[in-house]
């Protein structure tokens, strides 16, 4: 296939921590407007994969191409600026700021020192904050301190902060962990809505949730891809059942 069709092209990616290969010779291709879910047992290397893409961990070898940019050589903030957003496994928000401020500060302008000193909150920014707060079900809590949100709301807020940046590739590490059944349903709807004009890479353990959102599923095991394909195909795959779904 022609590699330019993919928004993200990962080839021969390896990272080794003192000889232990957390990600081992991995190839992964994500298409435009695709919602991909990566599943796998604990310690499979899922989070490490996201760390590699967003530059938190440097690859030992291999290449990560986002559109036509090689990411492995860029600094974290540069990777973000090319259009990659990432949610952490544990909700990572600014607890001392209000929901409104959390969103406002994530707006992708005024990103330089001088720019931030003279940045003014235009009506357009406010409009964007309000719209995204609505999208992540937090309109009511807009002026609440973020520390007071429930765990699930914090997850949403972090997704909202990424949406403020309007990334072309959105990576979410276990977005529904700690959410109630109702919240999970809402999040599934949210993801189905926001993947309309961007690619989304989700890591998740909750198979019910995965079924609701996945276009395609990748199973990771010991840093390698065990299987890849549609949800039905994965669920009937013998090896996958053995190492992951079985227990």
């Amino acid at each position: 296939m022609n590699p330019t069709e993919f928004i993200l092209t990962i080839e021969d990616l390896t990272v080794s921590f003192d000889g232990f290969k957390a990600v081992d010779n991995l190839n992964l291709y994500i298409e435009n407007n695709e919602l991909r879910v990566v599943i796998g047992p604990n310690g499979a290397g899922k989070t490490t994969l996201l760390d590699l893409i967003c530059g938190k961990t440097k690859a030992t070898s291999g290449s990560i191409k986002f559109k036509n940019t090689e990411l492995t050589r860029l600094a974290e903030h540069q990777i973000v600026r090319t259009g990659v957003g990432r949610k952490f496994q544990t909700p990572s928000i600014y607890e001392n700021l209000t929901v409104y401020q959390n969103l406002e500060v994530s707006y992708p302008e005024g990103r330089s020192v001088i720019g931030s000193l003279f940045f003014t909150t235009t009506p357009a920014v406010k409009e964007r904050v309000t719209r995204i707060a609505d999208e992540i079900f937090l309109t009511e809590s807009l002026h609440q301190q973020a520390a007071l949100l429930s765990h699930g709301q914090k997850q949403w807020l972090e997704i909202g902060m990424l949406l403020m940046q309007d990334p072309e590739l959105l990576m979410l590490d276990e977005p529904v962990a700690g959410m109630s059944a109702k919240e999970r349903d809402l999040t599934a709807d949210l993801l189905n809505r926001i993947c309309k004009n961007r690619s989304v890479l989700v890591i998740e353990h909750d198979m019910e949730f995965v079924k609701k959102i996945a276009h395609k599923v990748t199973v990771l095991h010991q840093g390698k891809i065990l299987a890849e394909g549609s949800m039905e195909k994965i669920q009937s795959n013998e090896t996958v059942i053995d190492v992951y779904l079985g227990h």
């Binding site: 938190k56 903030h77 952490f88 928000i93 600014y94 607890e95 020192v113 931030s116 406010k126 002026h143």
Partner: protein
């Protein structure tokens, strides 16, 4: 109010608090105190520069520098070098082996002015260097630390070590720096005798005015997006980084601003007190400054000023009678503040002051603002 003045003053309440401080420093204290006591206040106010620099750096940015004394000291030394050269004209130093050199150089058998003293013959250059030298040092330290992601306790310890090294260096290089005595016997600033009563009043007002300006500059920074990013970095540095910000640059910048503000305080100290010595550079003064900020409230620019004034007042009164006890008291005070009043005096004020109704109104007003989009002002 237009956008800029709003930002610089920090809203109605901020403007009110700033005005009260300005009236206190510029009107009430000069009217009530004799020149000697006013001079003491002037000295405390120079420390307040460092305290507000710590509000920016530590309170808001979460970067605890335990070496702010070095910037205060460098600013002070730069100023003192100019005054010393002026005080060492060939006529008043004609009994020296080499007339025209600062006295301590002559005592140390130095016969030629060291190259790094040359720029301090010029006042404009000196004023520039008062700011540039400390900022440059802060920039170098910042580059070395923040781009390598050294933070937290490590940063504090390293800044402390650098302050210590600098003070040892100054003490050790007696011939170039005046050693442990510092640079003393300063007399005139471009011919203006700084020891006269009128000069002392004048310098006091300049000093207080500069403090107010520095508070306004800090307010501008804190009310901008930069200020919000500082809080965000203090909370979750990684999240800021992975939102597309080059965290190191922001930290370097605020560290440099803090150094500059501290240096202004140091230079004003030299002018008002008439000397500068290594005892303002090392670890002890640096930690004292942190205590001033903590007592006043590390999140509050104005609070830090009051904290500095009060602690120093206490120090002056107490150490006259029980000099030994003071250090223990100060240590105890610090622990008490950190444990029971993490936001210091400003925090207590916010909580109990009778302005509740006013602040509640403000909170309510603030809540409404984002909804009436674009209709502000």
């Amino acid at each position: 109010m237009n956008e800029l003045s709003e930002k610089v003053l920090g809203g109605k309440q901020g403007a009110l608090h700033l005005a009260i401080l300005a009236v206190l420093l510029l009107v009430i204290l000069p009217l009530c105190l004799d020149l000697f006591r006013l001079g003491l206040i002037g000295k405390y106010v120079t420390y307040a520069f460092v305290a507000i620099s710590l509000v920016l750096l530590w309170g808001n940015g979460g970067i605890l520098s335990l070496g702010q004394g070095m910037f205060f000291g460098l600013g002070g030394y730069c100023m003192a070098m100019f005054l010393k050269l002026e005080a060492s004209d060939p006529i008043s130093t004609k009994i020296q082996t080499t007339p025209g050199l600062p006295d301590f150089m002559d005592w140390n058998q130095i016969v030629e002015l060291p190259w790094f003293w040359e720029p301090f013959k010029s006042l404009p250059l000196t004023l520039l260097l008062v700011l540039v030298v400390p900022v440059l040092l802060a920039f170098i330290i910042g580059m070395a630390m923040f781009t390598r992601r050294v933070g937290g306790v490590y940063f504090s310890i390293i800044t402390q070590a650098i302050a210590l090294i600098l003070s040892i260096l100054i003490v050790g290089q007696q011939g170039y720096t005046g050693g442990v005595n510092g640079i003393t016997d300063l007399k005139t600033l471009s011919g203006w005798d700084i020891r006269t009563d009128s000069a002392k009043y004048c310098l006091y007002f300049m000093n207080a005015g500069l403090l107010i300006l520095c508070i306004m500059l800090s307010r501008f920074i804190l009310t901008s997006k930069f200020g919000m990013l500082l809080l965000a970095m203090r909370d979750k540095e990684e999240r800021v980084r992975f939102s597309g910000y080059d965290v190191a640059r922001f930290k370097i910048f605020i560290f440099c601003v803090a150094a500059m503000i501290s240096a202004i305080g140091g230079a004003m100290f030299t002018l008002q007190i008439g000397f500068m010595s290594p005892s303002f550079v090392g670890i002890v003064p640096s930690i004292e400054m942190v205590i001033f900020a903590a007592v006043g409230g590390r999140m509050s620019l104005i609070g830090a000023v009051y904290g500095t004034l009060l602690v120093n007042f206490g120090k002056t009164i107490f150490s006259e009678t029980y000099p030994e006890l003071w250090l223990f008291l100060m240590g105890g005070l610090f622990i008490a503040v950190v444990m029971f009043f993490p936001d210091g005096l400003a925090g207590i004020y916010e909580k109990y002051a009778p302005h509740c109704s006013f602040s509640m109104l403000r909170a309510r007003w603030l809540k409404k603002v984002p909804k009436v989009t674009g209709e502000r002002q």
